[in-house]
Symmetry: C2
Subunit: 512 residues, 2 copies
C-alpha cells in the first residue's frame, strides 16, 4: 500500500478524463500525474531525502492535491497546516515536526519571511500559486516547468506518510503520525460501505488539511472520480460547484447544512445530482436532518465518527438509520456501528470491556491506528494500549452494536459528585423550539464544584427566558444535569475548523 | 487485520440474525461464533500450537465455515484439500504441508485410515459431520459440546493463515502461502467495487476449498450477510437455494451458466432476487452472457480475474462493460481493469514494461501477493520479482487499462515457430453454430513441432464436419492458428474443480 497508488491506477485507466476542477481550470489524470512527478523531481533536486517533513499552509486548490502527492512521490512526509492557526501555532507545528520544506499559497505569502526567521529548520519554501514567487521562495510552476518527471519512490506500508496536528478542542497540539497503510486502510473501510464509483464527482468543501478530506482525496483518486475544489466552504461557492459540475459526493459538518439551508431560502438551485452526503464531527438533529434532506433530495446520508489517531474512520451510521423506525428517530443520535475492518469496544480504566448499555471510554483497533504521536512516546503509550486506541470519547453501545457518544471524556462536567455529559444536556436544550444552537460547559461553583452552564443562541423571534428553558430540560433529563445558569448570545458560537464548538473558548471567561 | 475480524463484528452488530443456512439448519451469528470458539478450544486441548497446519477434506457445509474459522481462532493454518483429488494427491498435499490436524466429512470418512497410514505427520483427525465418528477420529460435535469457548488467539497481519494447493492445469501442486493480510486485502479490493451489504445473501455454489470462495466467505462474514450453503454445485440445488433463501449474490464459473440454462429449459423458477453475479476462471461469450442475463434478469455481472498467488483478486470487468458499446461487445473478451488497490503491468522477460497493445506476461502487485510457495524458496524467487507476481498468464493492455488475456503462457502452442494462443482458436471455433464446447491443445507433429488440435463437442443436431469448421476458422484467424485436426466428442470435456477445462487430461493421449 502506498499513497500514490491511485495516481498510477487512474492514469492507466482514464488518462484523458478529468482529474481536478478548480474554477475554470480542468486537468486530466495524465496532466496531474505528470505535474506530480515533475514537482517531485523538483523536490529531490532541492535536496529532499526520504522521511523529510514537507509542510503546506494553503486553502483548498488543485495545487494542494499536487503538492500532497508530490511529497509522497518523492518519499517525503506531509505536514498539513491548519489555515485558521495563529502565527504562534504555525511556528509550533513547523518546529515540532522539524519541517525542512514548506509550501504556501498567495493568501499566506506574508508568513514566508516571519516563518523563515522563527523556524531555523526550514530549508526550502515554495510558493504554491500562480505568478511570481515572493522573495526567498521558489515558484511551484517554475519547478514543474524546469524538472523532468522522476520515478515514484514508492515509500509504502508502515513507513511514515504524514504528521497531522490535532487541534482538538482542548490541550496542546499533538502531531499524529500516520503511515501509508493507516491512511489507505481507512479509505478501504469507507469504500466497503459507501457507494463511490469512477463516476463519482467529489466536492472538497471541507478543508484539505483535515484528515477526513485527505481520506476522500485518496479514495477519489484510487477509484478515478473527479476532484472538484473550492478554496473554502461558503454556501455560494458550494452550490455553484455542485450545480456546475454535477457533484455527486460531499463531506460536510452539520453546521454547513444550516448555512446551506439559510442560503437556499432566497436562492433556487437544483442539487439533486448529489447522491452521497457524509457528515461528521457531530451528530445531527432531526430538525437539521430534515433540512438537509430538502437541500439534497436524492442523497443518502452517512454519519462518520472517527479521529485523526484512527486515520480517521471508526463508525458509520448508514442511510437506512436516517429514517424513522419502530423506535422513532432514535438512531439519529447514534454514531453508527463499527466500519468493516474496525474493532470497537467500550472499556473501563483498565481496558476491561464494559457491559452493553453502560458508559465507558470508546476504544478502537484497526489498521488505521496511528504509528504514534510525533516526539511523544509517553503519550503514545498512554493512548495506544495493546493495539487499541483510547479515543478519550465517552460512549455506550447498544445490543445491536450501535455506538452512542455521550461526550468527550475531558469535556465531562463533574457537578456535586455526579458526572454530567454535556451532549445530553445540549440535546435537551436543542429540542426546545426557541433554541437555534447551544453549548453546555462546566463553570466553577462554590457549592457544586462545577456548575452546569449553558450558552444559548435563540432563533429569530425566540424568547430569552432561562426559567422556561430550565423547566423544559427538567422534563427530559435528571435534575442534576439541568443547566443552573444560562446566558443568551446573539452571534454564532465559535467553531473549530472541523465544525465543532470550541468549548475551550467558551470556558475562558470562567476559568483562570 | 485478522481472519476472524468479521466474526467479532457480526456478533457485535447482529447476534440474533442468520449467519449460515445449510439445508434445514439455520444458525445465528451468536451460535456460529460460540461454536467456533468452542471448536478452537477443542483444537487447543488436542494440542494445536500457533502455526500448526489444519487440513480439511469436505464438501461445502456450514461446518466447513466453522472449521475454517476455528483454525484461525486457535492460531492454526488452514490447508483446504481439493475434493476431486485422487488419494495420492491428498497424500502429497498433507505430507508436503506437514499437516498435524485433519477434518473430513462423511463423504471422505473412508480416507481416514489410509491417510493415517500414509501420512505419519497426521496427529489428530476430526469427523466434520453429524453422528458418531469413525474409529480413530474425534467427532466435531463432541468437541464443541465438551469444550468451553476460548479467547481468539488473534494471529494476524503478515503471519501465515492458509496454504492453498494450486492444481492449476499443469505441473505438480504448489502450496501457496497466504497471510491474514493477503486474504483480507483481497476482500477489501472486492468490497471497493462490488455492491455487497448486510442484506447480502450469498450462495456458496463454488467449492469452499477454492480461494475465490474463501474470499467471499470472509467478505460475507465481515459485512454481516448470510451464508447459504449447498454441498456442491448442481443446477437443481442452486435454483432451490436461490429461490428458497432469496439469494442476492453468486460466484460462478461460466460453465455453470450453461448448466443452469439447460436445466431451466424444463423448469420455471424466479431468480430475480439475484443482484450480483461474479464469474471467473474464464471469460464469457456473448451467447453465454445473453443466456446468463435471461437466467438472472435483475443481476449485474462482474468478471473477476486473479490467481491463488494473489489471494486471488487482480482485475474486474464491471457490469457496464457487459453491455454493447460503440465498439460492439468487444469488452466481453477483456478480463477488466486493475481493482482498486492492485497494480498491474505487462512485462517482458526482464520485467520491463511492454507498450500498450503488445502481448507480454501479466505482472501484479498488491497486498494480496502471497508470502511464497511453501517449501519452495527458489520457485518463490522466480515468481515474486521486486514485489510483483509473474502470473504466467500472457496478455496485453489497451489504452484504457483493460486487460486482455491471450492464454496461459504455459498453454501456448508453438507450431512452425509461431506462437498460437489456444483461447483465440477456441473463440473462433465457438462462434460456429454447431459447436457446444471446445478445447484447443498442441499435439506432437513431425513437421510443425506442435500441431494445433481441437476437441469439439457438438450441439444436438450439429454435424461433425471438420473441413467445414476449419474453413469457418480460416475466415476468422490467421492460417497458422487454424486447427489442423479436429476430434469430436459426445461427452462433456473434463473440468477442474474451478470449472476450467483440464487440458492436461486432453493432452495425455498424445504426449508421453
Amino acid at each position: 500500500m502506498y499513497l500514490t497508488h491511485g495516481l498510477h491506477r487512474s492514469r492507466q485507466q482514464r488518462p484523458d478524463e478529468a482529474a481536478t476542477v478548480f474554477g475554470d481550470r480542468r486537468q486530466t489524470w495524465r496532466t496531474l500525474v505528470d505535474r506530480v512527478a515533475r514537482l517531485a523531481g523538483g523536490l529531490v533536486s532541492l535536496g529532499i531525502v526520504p522521511g523529510d517533513r514537507v509542510a503546506i499552509i494553503a486553502l483548498n486548490r488543485d495545487r494542494y492535491i499536487e503538492a500532497f502527492y508530490a511529497t509522497a512521490w518523492a518519499g517525503g512526509v506531509i505536514v498539513p497546516g491548519n489555515t485558521r492557526w495563529a502565527f504562534a501555532e504555525h511556528v509550533y507545528a513547523l518546529t515540532d515536526a522539524g519541517a525542512r520544506f514548506l509550501l504556501v499559497d498567495a493568501g499566506f505569502a506574508s508568513l514566508i519571511e516571519p516563518l523563515r526567521k522563527a523556524c531555523p529548520n526550514l530549508w526550502v519554501i515554495i510558493y504554491l500559486d500562480d505568478g511570481e514567487a515572493p522573495s526567498g521562495a521558489f515558484a511551484v510552476e517554475d519547478l514543474i516547468a524546469s524538472f523532468t518527471p522522476i520515478e515514484d519512490q514508492c515509500s509504502r506500508d508502515d513507513s511514515l506518510a504524514g504528521i497531522f496536528y490535532t487541534g482538538g478542542t482542548t490541550g496542546h497540539p499533538k502531531g499524529v503520525m500516520l503511515s501509508h497503510r493507516n491512511m489507505l486502510s481507512s479509505c478501504f473501510y469507507s469504500l466497503a460501505s459507501l457507494r463511490f464509483s469512477d463516476r463519482s464527482v467529489y466536492l472538497h468543501a471541507a478543508p484539505m488539511f483535515h484528515v477526513g478530506d485527505v481520506g476522500l482525496t485518496l479514495t477519489i483518486t484510487m477509484i478515478g472520480g473527479v476532484h472538484v475544489v473550492i478554496p473554502s466552504f461558503s454556501p455560494e461557492a458550494a452550490v455553484r460547484a455542485i450545480v456546475g459540475e454535477g457533484v455527486t459526493d460531499l463531506l460536510l459538518v452539520p453546521t454547513m447544512f444550516g448555512m446551506l439551508h439559510q442560503y437556499l431560502l432566497t436562492q433556487t438551485a437544483d442539487l439533486s445530482a448529489v447522491k452521497n452526503v457524509i457528515y461528521g464531527a457531530a451528530p445531527i438533529t432531526e430538525t437539521l436532518l430534515k433540512k438537509a434532506m430538502q437541500i439534497f433530495p436524492k442523497a443518502a446520508f452517512y454519519q462518520g465518527y472517527g479521529q485523526t489517531e484512527l486515520a480517521p474512520g471508526a463508525t458509520l451510521l448508514m442511510p437506512e438509520f436516517h429514517l424513522p423506525s419502530a423506535h422513532g428517530w432514535s438512531y439519529l443520535r447514534s454514531a453508527g456501528r463499527a466500519m468493516v475492518g474496525v474493532d470497537i469496544k467500550i472499556v473501563d480504566e483498565t481496558m476491561g470491556e464494559r457491559p452493553r448499555g453502560e458508559v465507558g471510554e470508546v476504544a478502537v483497533r484497526s489498521d488505521g491506528v496511528m504509528l504514534g504521536y510525533w516526539g511523544k512516546p509517553e503519550l503514545t503509550r498512554q493512548t495506544i494500549v495493546g493495539g487499541w486506541v483510547r479515543t478519550g470519547d465517552a460512549g455506550y453501545m447498544d445490543e445491536a452494536g450501535f455506538l452512542f457518544l455521550v461526550d468527550r471524556m475531558k469535556d465531562m462536567i463533574v457537578s456535586g459528585g455526579e458526572n454530567v455529559f454535556s451532549a445530553e444536556v445540549e440535546n435537551a436544550l436543542s429540542s426546545h423550539a426557541d433554541v437555534l444552537e447551544c453549548a453546555v460547559i462546566g463553570v466553577p461553583d462554590d457549592r457544586w464544584g462545577e456548575r452546569v452552564h449553558a450558552i444559548v443562541r435563540l432563533r429569530r423571534g425566540g424568547i430569552g427566558d432561562a426559567d422556561k428553558l430550565i423547566a423544559h430540560c427538567r422534563t427530559l433529563i435528571a435534575g442534576y444535569k439541568v443547566p443552573r445558569t444560562i446566558e443568551f448570545w446573539d452571534q454564532p458560537l465559535p467553531l473549530s475548523a472541523a465544525g465543532k464548538v470550541l468549548k475551550r473558548e467558551l470556558r475562558k471567561p470562567y476559568w483562570p
